[in-house]
């Protein structure tokens, strides 16, 4: 059965065509590579937009006192920065990588449900158009933090909160459909002989991420729906006066929220698990334990949510349970870090840009993991909570974690996408500037946080001035550097040394068996993976064993 179908249901024509011409190619496409590219570009735009909000924040915090913006606007900036980065930059980037790479990695011709795939993508610009437009509405945009705790987001919210709620709904629909597509693709479209335990880890981590998404995005939809009802229909879910409870909001939100942070990091784990072996020229150490560790992390992520609520007033048994459960996550996470380091041990390492980002990922993400462990100690968190220490923690897991994982993936697969090698010198410069910039920006936050500087505040005590200035300088450096990344990518698309089908000699996996750039349609006849040797497993194996 090899029908190419259009809306009118007549089959067979335009079988081996390339992309359509003009705008319709992008609006109507069902091609996983087109959709993947659109996701990645969308994500980068969101990254720049969210980044410019961060620049406003850091400019205001450059010195104590109010200089540039009013507190009301400052609050909108922190809120929008968080929302745009989480839902607009990080998540879509990983969906873009999934779209591009999963079919190539498992020998599938496309995603399982290609039209739904297009729908998932286009919902995002719609959702973000709506979200960003709130900044221009009367009363301003959302100003209650990306966690939008009630009653800040209900009783005291600006009118635009209604549109914020619907924007979240649209993003949620988009994520759920994207995740369903990934699950259906991985479970149903693997090439013959591509058993589950031969799949590259990126596919594994995405399968588990997709499960998390399908499990928790509806809960997010539930919590914003309750908000909508409280705001417009007089219900009292989050109002104790009617027998409800504002803390209920936090429970439901964090039941979504904690798995959400793993949604943002698991795919990066997977990508790094392909990249480190490639540049160590050794198979991944402990493939099977990586799979189980990912599963364990995903499971645990459902039973730790209240570590975000240690100070809100939960019963003592709750504090204890959530404290110990949270600490347990460090075990499978430690397994992973151990495996990455062991993969590098005695490898013949080279440090091209993907590897630089991957190694930095391992080191700096671990720092974020450790500060997480500190926060997990409930009595200590009484002090750390809502200080800049928390900001330092999650930026260490998100910037050199999620974002560096995305950069590493981008450099690793750019030759496959574009057919050209990127400019290695500039890429290394991009790495070092990002590395220095982000450490300058976020490391001092640990200190000011421990000293008591609260988060989400436009002004601060004089004693924090020096560190804040350092932070701001680092942040500007990091921000400006990302324009260099844009330049490198455009340069790579437009030309450069032609890339071989497999430009990295240590790389493994089916994606390297197709030419670079990958043709518009790949694997219309599935490759046979049955005779791929077992020891190749974990990196997807190769066609010629």
């Amino acid at each position: 059965m090899s029908a190419v179908i259009d809306d009118h249901g007549h089959a067979g024509h335009d079988h081996h065509h390339g992309p359509a011409k003009g705008l319709s190619r992008w609006l109507l496409t069902t091609n996983h590579k087109d959709i993947g590219s659109m996701y990645l570009w969308f994500s980068f735009c969101a990254f720049l937009l969210g980044g410019s909000f961060a620049m406003v924040i850091r400019a205001e915090l450059f010195q104590p006192g109010l200089q540039i913006v009013q507190p009301e606007f400052f609050n909108q900036m922190t809120t929008m920065h968080g929302l745009v980065m989480v839902f607009g930059a990080v998540m879509p980037a990983f969906v873009g990588l999934a779209n591009w790479m999963i079919p190539l990695m498992i020998g599938a011709p496309d995603m399982a449900l290609p039209r739904m795939n297009n729908f998932s993508f286009w919902l995002l610009p719609a959702a973000f158009g709506l979200l960003v437009s709130t900044l221009f509405m009367e009363g301003g945009g959302p100003n209650f933090g990306w966690t939008f705790y009630a009653p800040l987001s209900t009783t005291y919210a600006p009118e635009s909160v209604t549109f914020f709620i619907f924007a979240i709904h649209l993003m949620g629909i988009s994520s759920i459909m994207g995740a369903i597509n990934v699950v259906a693709t991985v479970l149903n479209l693997r090439a013959p002989g591509m058993t589950l335990m031969k799949m590259p880890l990126f596919v594994w981590t995405w399968l588990i991420t997709a499960f998390l998404l399908i499990a928790v995005m509806p809960v997010l939809a539930g919590v914003v729906t309750m908000m909508l009802m409280d705001i417009h229909f007089g219900t009292s879910f989050f109002s104790a006066a009617g027998g409800g409870d504002p803390v209920l909001f936090q429970h439901v939100f964090w039941f979504f929220g904690h798995p959400e942070v793993y949604i943002m990091i698991l795919p990066a784990f997977g990508a790094v698990s392909s990249i480190i072996p490639a540049f160590s020229r050794k198979p991944l150490f402990g493939y099977t334990s990586m799979v189980y560790a990912t599963g364990a992390i995903a499971f645990l992520s459902f039973i730790v949510w209240a570590h975000h609520m240690f100070v809100v007033g939960i019963p003592l048994v709750g504090e204890l349970f959530f404290m110990y459960a949270t600490m347990l996550i460090a075990v499978p996470t430690g397994v992973k870090v151990f495996n990455w380091v062991s993969t590098m041990w005695r490898g013949s390492l080279t440090f091209e840009a993907p590897m630089l980002f991957a190694v930095a990922f391992v080191i700096l993400f671990s720092i974020g993991g450790f500060s997480g462990l500190m926060l997990a100690i409930a009595p200590a968190d009484f002090q750390y909570h809502d200080t800049y220490f928390v900001v330092a923690h999650f930026h260490y897991v998100l910037v050199p974690g999620a974002i560096f994982g995305i950069f590493a993936s981008a450099y690793y697969w750019l030759p496959k996408w574009t057919g050209h090698m990127y400019d290695e010198t500039l890429a290394k410069l991009h790495f070092w500037l990002s590395f220095i910039g982000m450490n300058l920006a976020f490391f001092p936050m640990h200190f000011v946080g421990l000293a008591g500087m609260p988060r989400r505040i436009p002004d601060y005590n004089l004693q924090f001035a020096d560190f804040n200035m350092v932070s701001s300088i680092g942040a500007f450096m990091f921000g400006a550097t990302q324009l260099l990344f844009l330049f490198i990518v455009i340069k790579c698309i437009r030309g450069g040394e032609p890339a071989a089908a497999k430009p990295w000699d240590g790389a493994e996996g089916l994606e390297w068996s197709v030419p670079s750039p990958a043709p518009y349609h790949t694997f219309q006849v599935p490759p046979d993976m049955n005779d791929v040797h077992e020891h190749r497993k974990g990196t997807g194996g190769e066609l010629t064993p």
Binding site: D7, T30, F119, W122, A126, A191, G234, A240, A241, D245
Partner: protein, 295 residues
């Protein structure tokens, strides 16, 4: 794993982008409408925008599903495509389960913790200082602050309409399965009768549910605004009712397709998917009946 030589790859489609626009227009209209209502603005173009969006959604649904039905009728779908649809539908239903879980979770949290705490019991009993006179009971017939949230005078008992509704929905699950068996045996008459009975039962359920709502609003003072009991009650039963409505629409489409001679004993995933959805809605109701009405 596939036994096929080549895969199915669909060409471009206009439906997703139309769907996106339709959804965006709908929510924008709805949002403006709600905001204008709340701010007491006399004029609002929200309803009109919403209405246009809703029409577009209907058009898109007809078009998109119509295209899929046509392709399926033309025999273009391989068993592999069929499996993709199955996975898609199963995980969609799982996401719906999680959506309802959020509201069930809220209900349990309120009943086991928040209520007693507000009454001075348990680990966080200090919350009782807010409204010292408040006494907790479930169903909640007195709210902490009755001025803001006037309490209902009564609630819907389990053993009247809700029991009848339970019987209706459970029976409808059986009649639907009977219809499915008919389809598998190529006994299309059985399928038609089974499906028709299912639809009638579903429709009666909706009518009774509407009746219950009217009763609650007009005679009991049980409303969305009557405190947390009303909030959880209407949220859970309301979303369930919306899902039953969706299910009725899906099954109606299936009945029309059966009458037009679609499906055969082997290939009828459209029908199966709709019936999975119906059974899911049924299971949710059992949960509702137990936790909202009985207990």
């Amino acid at each position: 794993m596939s036994t096929h030589q080549t895969y199915y790859v669909p060409a471009q489609s206009k439906w997703p982008i139309i769907a996106t626009l339709a959804l965006l227009i709908t929510v924008y209209g709805l949002g403006s409408w709600f905001n204008d209502l709340k701010a007491d603005r006399a004029e609002s173009n929200g309803p009109l925008i919403f209405f246009i969006g809703a029409l577009l959604i209907a058009y898109m649904m007809f078009g998109w599903f119509g295209a899929v039905v046509k392709e399926s009728r033309a025999g273009l779908y391989s068993p592999q495509m069929d499996r993709s649809f199955r996975w898609g539908m199963s995980w969609f239903i799982f996401s719906e389960v999680m959506f309802f879980s959020a509201f069930f979770g809220a209900l349990f949290y309120i009943r086991f913790w928040v209520g007693p705490w507000l009454d001075g019991d348990g680990a966080k009993g200090v919350s009782a200082m807010l409204w010292p006179d408040f006494e907790y009971s479930w169903p909640l017939l007195n709210n902490p602050d009755p001025k803001l949230y006037p309490a209902p005078e009564g609630v819907i008992g389990a053993w009247g309409l809700p029991l009848i509704n339970t019987i209706l929905l459970v029976t409808s699950s059986f009649t639907l399965t009977w219809a499915h068996h008919g389809l598998k045996k190529n006994n299309r008459k059985q399928t038609k009768i089974g499906l028709a009975i299912t639809l009638v039962l579903g429709a009666i359920f909706l009518v009774l549910q509407a009746e219950e709502y009217i009763h609650a609003y007009t005679e009991l003072g049980l409303t969305l605004g009557s405190g947390i009991y009303g909030a959880t009650f209407f949220m859970l039963t309301g979303f369930h009712g919306a899902h039953v409505t969706m299910g009725v629409i899906m099954l109606t489409v299936m009945l029309v397709r059966i009458l037009r001679g679609h499906f055969n004993a082997e290939h009828h995933f459209g029908f199966e998917g709709a019936s999975w959805y119906w059974h899911f809605v049924d299971v949710v109701w059992i949960g509702l009946f137990v936790f909202v009405y009985v207990l």
